[in-house]
Symmetry: C2
Subunit: 182 residues, 2 copies
Amino acid sequence: MANRSRTKYIILGMLTIQDMSGYEITKAIKSSTQFFWSESPGQIYPTLAQCVKEALVFCNDEASGKNQRAKKTYTITEKGREMLAFWLEYAPQPDVIRNELLLKLFFGRNGKAQDMIYHLMHQKKANEAGLSFLNSLQNKLSLKNADSPDLKYWLITIDYGIKITEAELSWCEAALKVLEAK
Amino acid sequence: MANRSRTKYIILGMLTIQDMSGYEITKAIKSSTQFFWSESPGQIYPTLAQCVKEALVFCNDEASGKNQRAKKTYTITEKGREMLAFWLEYAPQPDVIRNELLLKLFFGRNGKAQDMIYHLMHQKKANEAGLSFLNSLQNKLSLKNADSPDLKYWLITIDYGIKITEAELSWCEAALKVLEAK
DNA sequence: TGAGTCATGTAATTCGTTACATGATTAA
DNA sequence: TTAATCATGTAACGAATTACATGACTCA
């Protein structure tokens, strides 16, 4: 089943916010969607080139003779907007879920309880850091984009991050209690 | 960076519970770890063969002359147990997180609000079903494995599922309120 | 006798990451 | 001047899924 990749759509989506270069798209993903969607640069650049070929985006080619590695920015085309809208209509496909911490815990009795406790403490700290990142992101976004039609949707995704991280944190604490008892 | 696959470890782990065939391992994964770890049969069989080659598991070969497709069961070896224990010590590696529902919502203003509401309602139903599955799994496991040293760990993973699903459910409801409010 | 499930395995293909190569610009 | 970051891109590789091929057993 070909074409299951959604790199194309995150690129198109990012370009609805503003014109960007491949590098900027990569950075934008890292700073805003990282907690529910990630992409590597080695995926972004070829897909971007493919989007140009399909006329979904337009390349504002600044390639002067001198600088071969000049920054190129991309603009989404009408066709690109249509493709994005079309994709949005369809039911999201369930993604592979893989959580190595859970897998280790599931087989935990074959290892040292102390190691499991250590893994959980590490996870707890990561959750605490994640929570403070999400809270500051929430504030920053709300202030900077008060008038943006995107804001409502962005806040929904951040709310997801916060609720899930809080739940994970409370699970960590409960699990630690179970393993530390006795 | 080779050998990042953890299929080997889930196979070894499953074989610490009891001897199983490849088919049974696949089924066991589907019925117990599916909500945090999945594997496809096309991954299980070759990895199982590899484990035999590395002497991590032993094949109880019932291959009589007649039935070429007889069920083969596998037993974990001492070396396999060591390998599993070794893996358990190490900090879990962060796995790729991909949530297409979130990605669609993030770019939601480029689509119809009604579609986003529909996607969320679908997710809400899936969470409700998941919750009832996890609750019955919790009961079944507790009764059937009351004396098993694995039980404590298994319940921790189920508790994760329940807490996360509940959080997702409450997020769905909150998000629906935001989007349905005019 | 036909459907469904039990059961094992392979091949093709896709997806995506990592590592590398290259070079410009900027701030200490 | 040198380290960091900005910036684009390719090649090699690995992981994993899907689809397919094969065939036995069981139950209605």
